[in-house]
Amino acid sequence: MRVGVITFPGTLDDVDAQRAVRHADGEAVPLWHGDHDLKGVDAVIVPGGFSYGDYLRCGAIARFAPVMQEVVEAANKGMPVLGICNGFQILAEAHLLPGALTRNEKLHFVCRDQWLRVENNTTAWTTRYDRNAEILIPLKSGEGSYQADEDTLKELEDEHRIVFRYVGDNPNGSRNDIAGITNARGNVVGLMPHPEHAIDALTGPTDDGLGMFLSLLDTVVKA
């Protein structure tokens, strides 16, 4: 399994995403923002950070990066794509996922260990979880409040496209406690919390995040 991990200037969690891929016995392939090249990978992770500084709306510049044009094309053909935090923001800006991420309700950056409920275990990235399983992984973001219009929210709910929901206090004011969603096809997933920081109880609160990368392994092997 070869998994591309994109680095934009300002990307921070690329090393973590690469490590998580290796923990799931995959090969992590670094992808550079300026290249029109996915290097023949089986899947792509758009990791967290502050792409190009994100001094504009988060992800607004990154969506125009040469590599993102390739990602959008591949995703539309069914390639598994995961956006974490800034990656989720970028996928939303690139219209691979609906809605937008806005400033947290209390305006502060929030870093905490967050319980999530896995509500859809049929996506390319979540088959290793039981439906309604609760997992504990870090959340760390200043603009993580998921917003969408009523019709979009209804569509997401009706089509079971809400993959992760916050359990307990809503940390950022996200609509419907949404932590992560998928596209209609189930190959593209975006979430604000960081599964790549929870692959080992030594450096994370748990190893609950590893399931996402192992799920991908199953998906790629089956394909």
Partner: protein
């Protein structure tokens, strides 16, 4: 018109604003003597910033020498670089070198909390980068005025957001620090920033500019008008409410963490490809500092073409370009055949890089601006041979009175009030949970964080193969230092040492950030001198060297100085982070709680005296560094043999606070049975104590080891996962929910 050297020679009597730039009459006279003429505007700007207290250490130098005098060869043996470099470097084994340093950014953070704190983080990170290391983590010891004061509501949220905003965007985990409140910091908060980084031993880069013909390349952000005079005006003058002098207008720099992140990755790629012969970051005093330090550390002269510096403001004068403190810039010395490759790496990262000069024959630093010479100086006189002052020292007249005013007469709580006091103290601003602050900091990025706040020390993994890592803690109790600066500095060292040992790591090196009032106040200089001696003697006793540090003077409001605050940072090494000791209890099914060390009736400078009685007087707790060392050895041995499942250092708030925290962090209850006078047992702040949890199966083996090594121990309780309460035998119990509300509710109530 540009003031050239030629012009200066022909107009010897022209008046110059040296006083406004912070130079004294005799300092100005000395510059004239060095140059044999009056300085040009640009030279005056250079000398004034480089000879400021902040850059030249002119008041502290004579005392700081004591660190060198007390460092033995054995202590020095693990040091790869020490005081004088950008940051100290320590060999930690497995081929790794670790570099760490703390710096202050106090005055800018009061003027502009967000940017002051942000650029404080940025500056210390570039110091670590300039050693050739990858920055790996940051920590921020902070001090504020009264928690409920109106101005604290401006200063604290801004500083916290600045530390977080910069560090989070830079991608460095924040793994610890301090938040302390005391009225003395009301008009002068302290923002100290620590950074730790690592490199392979062979990759150590020291700042120098040897090799005639080598090119000097400035890379990173453009140079603008921000932060001009920041060093001399802001860092070396006292804030004075009464005098509305114009020169004290804020000149705080503005940070751009994205540019710094790119600068880090670009620099590391340059190092990796072997394209850098010498490197220096641009911090306080900007290009003045970088060019004079690089030139004076090398073996030749240097020629800089100032008109080549990329600017972001129009019509900047040579003096302004030289003293600008625009952030996110580095200066490299590059061999001519590597220049093209150097430029290519910078282009890949979209980093602006400009060849601004070269190393030349001779021993002068010559700076030209459009072919006219504006600076022609011996660089050492700028960078290293500034004025040195042996300032008057006077033990304060009221020191004896302060020490005689012991807390012995303060009314102590009755037995039936003790349980309530546990809760009251847990909710007091200094002891309350700092989660409101730390949850604004990313502690996970890079995936190497093994321990972070609220643990006693932060710990990061350095080597993913072997698991080798480092632990760090910073500490200082300014009240103890006020009562006795010598012993207080030792106590700060002891606590940082103990905190590191409590994680299972072996302490190996020390850094410091010495925050004091005005050096022109003989009483402050006495505190400073005593604290330096105490810290140096303490390090010698523990056998670990001071590898670097920072001095911040003029921390006072009007004529009232802050509590003397020598923040001490201790670095420890752990061969395998998997054996780290957590702070929370309850990891094992059955655990016994043991208190290591001795408890005495010691309340001078205590949190109880401060919070309950507003009292400061008497003597601080006794410090016994031999005991601290033994305690450290026992903790490390216990960790190595898997005998300890949790450990928590006892400090402010005593045993009661340690119990509250260890239960709440571990989310389990405990039953404790302290002995003797319960008030003393629970709230005394005697040093040299650690609360450990040991699995019942290991209890005998562990206490036998303590006994054999003559470390006093006492069984004080058991972990009780079923109870969901902290029960103190003979007093009753407090449900954990209630304790948590008390401990975690204070800061949100103040600052949300």
């Amino acid at each position: 018109m540009i003031d050239t050297v030629k012009n200066a020679e022909s107009t010897p009597d022209q008046e110059q604003p040296y006083q406004e730039l912070g130079l004294k009459d005799d300092e100005y006279a000395r510059i004239k003597e060095i140059l044999g003429r009056r300085p040009t505007d640009a030279e005056l700007a250079m000398y004034s910033v480089m000879w400021s207290e902040h850059c030249s250490y002119k008041s502290s130098k004579v005392h700081l020498k004591y660190f060198g005098e007390t460092t033995t060869d054995e202590m020095r043996s693990k040091m790869l670089a020490g005081i004088g470099e950008n940051a100290g470097v320590v060999d930690i084994g497995d081929g790794w070198a670790v570099t760490f340093k703390v710096e202050s950014h106090n005055h800018p953070s009061y003027v502009e909390p967000y940017q002051g704190a942000a650029t404080g983080v940025g500056g210390i990170v570039r110091d670590i980068l300039a050693m050739g290391a990858r920055p790996l983590a940051v920590m921020d010891p902070l001090r504020f005025g009264k928690p409920d004061a109106e101005d604290t509501k401006r200063v604290l949220p801004g500083i916290v957001a600045g530390v977080g905003g910069y560090g989070n965007c830079l991608g460095l985990p924040n793994i610890g620090g301090e938040v302390v409140f005391d009225e003395s910091y009301q008009g002068n908060p302290l923002v100290n920033a620590l950074c730790v980084g690592a490199m392979r031993v062979e990759d150590l880069h020291l700042a120098h500019a040897s090799g005639t013909g080598n090119k000097v390349i400035l890379y990173g952000a453009r140079t603008g008008l921000d932060g001009i005079g920041g060093v001399s005006v802001l860092a070396s003058e006292t804030f004075d409410d009464t005098a509305g002098k114009r020169k004290k207008l804020p000149s705080v720099q503005v940070g751009d963490p994205f540019t710094e992140k790119v600068l880090i990755e670009c620099s590391l790629e340059l190092f990796e490809k072997g394209l850098v012969a010498g490197i220096q970051d641009l911090g306080g005093a900007g290009l003045s500092c970088a060019t004079s330090e690089l030139a004076s550390a090398g073996d030749g002269g240097m020629h800089v073409y100032l008109d080549r510096v990329p600017l972001r403001a129009a019509n900047m004068t040579p003096a302004e370009i030289l003293s600008s403190e625009s952030q996110e810039r580095m200066c490299a010395v590059v061999e001519p055949h590597n220049v093209d490759a150097f430029m290519a790496v910078c282009a890949k990262w979209d980093v602006i890089a400009t060849e601004i000069g070269e190393v030349v024959e001779g021993d002068r630093l010559v700076i030209t601006y459009h072919d006219e010479v504006v600076v022609d100086v011996p660089p050492r006189t700028v960078a290293h041979e500034g004025p040195v002052y042996d300032r008057p020292i006077q033990r304060p007249a009221d020191q004896d009175e302060l020490r005689a005013n012991t807390p012995d007469g303060l009314p102590r709580p009755a037995k039936d009030e003790l349980l309530a006091l546990v809760k009251t103290m847990a909710a007091s601003p200094n002891l309350a949970s700092k989660k409101w602050v730390t949850q604004q900091y990313d502690r996970y990025v890079r995936g190497g964080t093994v321990l972070a706040q609220p643990s006693d020390g932060g710990m990061i993994r350095i080597d993913e193969e072997t698991g080798r890592g480092v632990a760090l803690s910073t500490d200082c109790n300014g009240r103890y230092t006020k009562l006795d600066p010598y012993e207080g500095a030792k106590l700060a060292l002891a606590e940082a040492y103990r905190n590191v040992a409590a994680t299972g790591a072996t302490p190996v090196a020390v850094t410091n950030c010495l925050n004091f009032g005005s050096p022109e106040d003989p009483a402050v200089m006495w505190q400073f001198e005593q604290a330096v001696k105490g810290l140096a003697d303490g390090c010698a006793e523990l056998g670990i060297p001071v590898t670097g540090g920072n001095v911040s003077f003029y921390n006072q409001t009007g004529s009232t100085p802050i509590l003397p605050t020598p923040v001490v940072g201790v670095l420890g090494v752990i061969d395998d982070v998997r054996r780290r000791i957590p702070t929370g209890i309850g990891a094992e099914a059955g655990e016994t709680l043991l208190l290591l060390g001795e408890t005495r009736d010691e309340f001078g400078g205590s949190e109880w005296a401060h919070h309950v009685h507003g009292h400061l007087g008497g003597l601080p707790p006794k410090v016994d560094l031999k005991r601290e060392k033994l305690l450290g050895e026992v903790l490390v041995a216990g960790s190595r043999d898997g005998m300890i499942s949790a450990a928590h250092d006892l400090s402010e708030g005593g045993l009661a606070q340690a119990l509250v925290e260890t239960c709440l962090i571990g989310e389990v209850g405990a039953r404790v049975f302290p002995e003797g006078d319960l008030f003393t047992a629970l709230f005394s702040e005697s040093a040299g104590r650690v609360l450990v949890a040991v699995p019942r199966t290991e209890e005998q083996r562990f206490v036998d080891m303590c006994t054999a090594r003559r470390l006093p121990w006492r069984k004080v309780g058991v972990v009780d996962p079923e109870s969901k309460a902290l029960e103190v035998q003979g007093l009753g119990e407090i449900p954990l929910d209630e304790l948590r509300e008390a401990w975690e509710g204070t800061l949100p109530a103040l600052f949300d």
